[in-house]
C-alpha cells in the first residue's frame, strides 16, 4: 500500500462522467513519473441498510429501488424475491413469475441499450481521445443519426415494457411479496407486440456493432485494462444463463469451477466484503480464497463466461462466436464486456418475444402466500451483475436487518485493477496529461457499466479533474474535463 506523501505526485480525475453515480480517480506518481498507485474512489454514502430498519416489509420493494434510477427494477425484484420468502410465497404462480421475468428482461434491454448507445458508443465510434465536444450522445446523433435513433427506440421499448408491468417507467410498483399486483392486458400486450419485429432487427444490429468493434480492434483492446480474474453469477440448474433466478456459481480465470449450485440463502457462507479506508464502496471476495485474491468479476462478461449455454437460439449462436475467440475458455478482456452486453440485449429481446406470446401473462392468479419466515435472501442478475438483498423481519412486520451487495460493488476491485493497468500503460512516464489520456482511464471504468449511485447505497453521481504535482508538491499541470 502506497501512502500519499509529498514525495509523490498526485493526479485526480473528478468527476468521472458518462457513468452512473459519483466517483473520482487518484493517481500517485513517483519522481520519474511512474505510476505508484491508481484508485477509483466512490464518494457517496446513503445508509440504506440502517434507515430501512423499522419500515414495514411490504414497503421495501418500493423504497429500496430508489437506490438507483437506472436499474430500479433490479432492486425492486431482488427485494420482492426476498419478501416472497418472508411471506412464504416463493413458489410464485406461473403468471406472476412470467410477469416479473418480462419486467426484468425489459429492464435489462433498456439498461444495456442506455449504456451502449447513450454512454459508451461515443468512445467506440469517435475514439478514446476524440474531441470532447463531439464525444457524447449528441455527437453520435449528429454523425450517426440512424444508430442514435435505434438506441433511443430500443431503450424506449424496454421502458414501455417496464411501464406495462410495473405501472411506471421508473420506480414502479408491480412486484409485491408473493407475486404481482396486475397482469398484462391484451391491449398492453398488443401495443408491445406490434413493434417486435423492428426491435429484434435493431437488437441484432446492436450486437453486430459491438461484435465488429471488438473483433476489428481486438489486438489493440485485448490488453486494455485487462487481467485474469474469477467470474461469478447465478445460473440455472442445467447451466443455462438465467438473469432472474438460479443458484450461485463461480469459475476461475481458466474456467475451473470454484463453487456451483450454492443456495441463495447461503450466500454469506461464500461471500464477504472488505472495508477499505479510501472508498465508501466495499470490496467483496470469495471467502474460501480470502480477501487478497478472492475478488471476482460480475456482469455481462462474467455471465457469458459462466453460462454453459443460453436458452434462446440467436443469443446462443452469438455466445458460441464470443467463446470461440478465446478457445472456449473464459474471456478475461475488459473491453469484451460490450460485446457480452449486447449478446444479453439480444437474449432479453428473444425472451420478451416469447413471453409476450405466452397466454399465462393474462392469467388471474397473481399472489401466493405460505408459512411466514423471519429472514430471507433475494438474488437476481441485474444488468451490471449479481445483486444480493438480505433482510430480517420481526413479528410486527418491521425490517430489523438489511444487507445489500449491489452489482457494481463486486466489480470494485476489477475496476480498480483496470484503472491501475490503464494508468500504468498510458500515464506512466508522461510529463503532460492530456484530456484524451484521462478519458482512457474512464473508458476502462465504463466497460464495467458501473452504477455508483447504488453501489454505496448513498447519493448518486459520478462526475473527472486531474492535477499533476511534482515531487515537491508543486502544481505542475491541471486538467478537468471541459
Amino acid at each position: 500500500m502506497v501512502e500519499a506523501t509529498k514525495k509523490l505526485k498526485r493526479i485526480v480525475i473528478e468527476p468521472v462522467t458518462r457513468v452512473e453515480g459519483h466517483g473520482k480517480v487518484t493517481i500517485l506518481l513517483d519522481q520519474d513519473n511512474n505510476v505508484q498507485q491508481a484508485r477509483l474512489h466512490i464518494v457517496e454514502f446513503r445508509g440504506f441498510e440502517r434507515f430501512i430498519q423499522g419500515r414495514p416489509y411490504w414497503e421495501v420493494p418500493v423504497v429500496v429501488q430508489r437506490l438507483c434510477g437506472i436499474c430500479p427494477v433490479s432492486h425492486h425484484l431482488a427485494a420482492a424475491k426476498a419478501m416472497d420468502r418472508i411471506v412464504g410465497g416463493e413458489n410464485l404462480t406461473p403468471t406472476a413469475e412470467k410477469l416479473r421475468r418480462l419486467m426484468h428482461y425489459g429492464q435489462t434491454l433498456q439498461s444495456h441499450a442506455l449504456h451502449f448507445f447513450h454512454l459508451v458508443s461515443p468512445d467506440l465510434l469517435f475514439g478514446f481521445d476524440a474531441d470532447v465536444a463531439i464525444r457524447n450522445v449528441i455527437g453520435v446523433a449528429a454523425k450517426f443519426p440512424d444508430l442514435a435513433v435505434q438506441g433511443v427506440m430500443l431503450r424506449k421499448f424496454g421502458q414501455e415494457i417496464i411501464k406495462a408491468t410495473a405501472g411506471k417507467k421508473i420506480h414502479g410498483t408491480g412486484a409485491i411479496p408473493g407475486g404481482m399486483n396486475k397482469n398484462l392486458s391484451i391491449a398492453e400486450r398488443d401495443a408491445l407486440l406490434k413493434d417486435m419485429a423492428q426491435m429484434m432487427d435493431w437488437a441484432r444490429g446492436a450486437l453486430k456493432v459491438a461484435k465488429d468493434y471488438t473483433l476489428d480492434n481486438f489486438d489493440e483492446i485485448k490488453g486494455f485494462g485487462s487481467f485474469d480474474s474469477s467470474h461469478l453469477s447465478i445460473r440455472r440448474d442445467d447451466g443455462a444463463m438465467d438473469l432472474y433466478d438460479g443458484k450461485l456459481c463461480a469459475i476461475d480465470s481458466t474456467g475451473k469451477t470454484i463453487f456451483e449450485g450454492v443456495d441463495n440463502q447461503k450466500y454469506n457462507d461464500i461471500i464477504a466484503e472488505e472495508v477499505r479506508n479510501w472508498s465508501y464502496m466495499k470490496f467483496p471476495f470469495i471467502k474460501s480464497i480470502g480477501p487478497e485474491d478472492g475478488w471476482y468479476r460480475v456482469g455481462p462478461l462474467a455471465r457469458v463466461n459462466t453460462a454453459k449455454f443460453i436458452d434462446t437460439p440467436e443469443a446462443e449462436a452469438a455466445r458460441k462466436e464470443f467463446m470461440a475467440v478465446t478457445d472456449n475458455k473464459p474471456n478475461n478482456v475488459t473491453m469484451a464486456y460490450h460485446w457480452a452486453r449486447m449478446i444479453e440485449l439480444l437474449h432479453s429481446m428473444e425472451k420478451i418475444q416469447m413471453l409476450l406470446n405466452d397466454p399465462d401473462l393474462q392469467g388471474e392468479d397473481l399472489v401466493v402466500k405460505g408459512e411466514r419466515r423471519g429472514e430471507a435472501v433475494g438474488i437476481i442478475e441485474a444488468p451490471r451483475g449479481t445483486l444480493f438483498h438480505h433482510y430480517k423481519v420481526n413479528e410486527d412486520d418491521q425490517v430489523t436487518m438489511c444487507n445489500l451487495i449491489v452489482s457494481t460493488t463486486s466489480n470494485n476491485e476489477p475496476m480498480n485493477r483496470a484503472v491501475q493497468g490503464v494508468a500504468q500503460e498510458y500515464l506512466s512516464g508522461k510529463p503532460e496529461i492530456t484530456e484524451g489520456l484521462l478519458n482512457h482511464v474512464e473508458v476502462a471504468i465504463r466497460a464495467y457499466d458501473p452504477c455508483l449511485s447504488c453501489a454505496t447505497h448513498a447519493m448518486g453521481k459520478m462526475p473527472l479533474t486531474i492535477e499533476l504535482y511534482d515531487a515537491d508538491g508543486n502544481l505542475l499541470d491541471s486538467k478537468a474535463k471541459e
Partner: protein, 181 residues
Amino acid sequence: MAKPKVATTSLAGCFGCHMSLLDIDERILQLVELVDFDKSPINDIKKFTGRVDVGLIEGGCANEENVRVLQDFRTHCDVLISVGDCATMGGIPALRNMIPLKECLDEAYLNGPTVYNPAGKVPNDPEIPLLLNKVYPAHEVVKIDYFLPGCPPSADTIWEALVALLTDKPVDLPYELIKYD
C-alpha cells in the same frame, strides 16, 4: 442567436430523474435543436464553459461535495430547477435524517453480516468527501427558482417545463403532471 444552454447534475439522487429526462425518447433530437448542453453527466464537460440559462438539479445535499456543486450551479445558471422529490425535499435519502449518522456508517461498515473489517474503521480517507449531518433539500442550500415534483417527475413533466422556459412561455403544467409519489 446562440441556442440557450442547459446544464444538469445529480447530487444526492439516484439518477432516476436523469433517466426520466432521457425518457423524452425521440424528443431528445428536438431538444438538441432547441438547446446546447453544458456541464452534465451525460457528456464529458466537467466544468462550466460559461453562463448557462437553465440548470437542472437532481438530488439534495448529503455531503460537502454536493454543496460545492450546487453552489457552482447557482453561480453559473440563470434559472435553477429542483427536479424530483430528492432535490425538492430530500426524498428517500433523507430517511437517514432521523438516525444518527454514526449508526448508518456502523451498520454499513462494521455490523453487516458480510462485513470483513479487521481494522474496525469506517472509510475516512481525505479523498472521499465528508458527509453532512443531514440530507438537505436544494433550496435550503441555494435559491431555487422552480420545483418539479415526482419520483421521478415524468418525462412529459420535464419536457413541458423545459420547453415552456426555453420558448419564453409561462409554465402551465396540466394537473395530472404535478404529483408526488
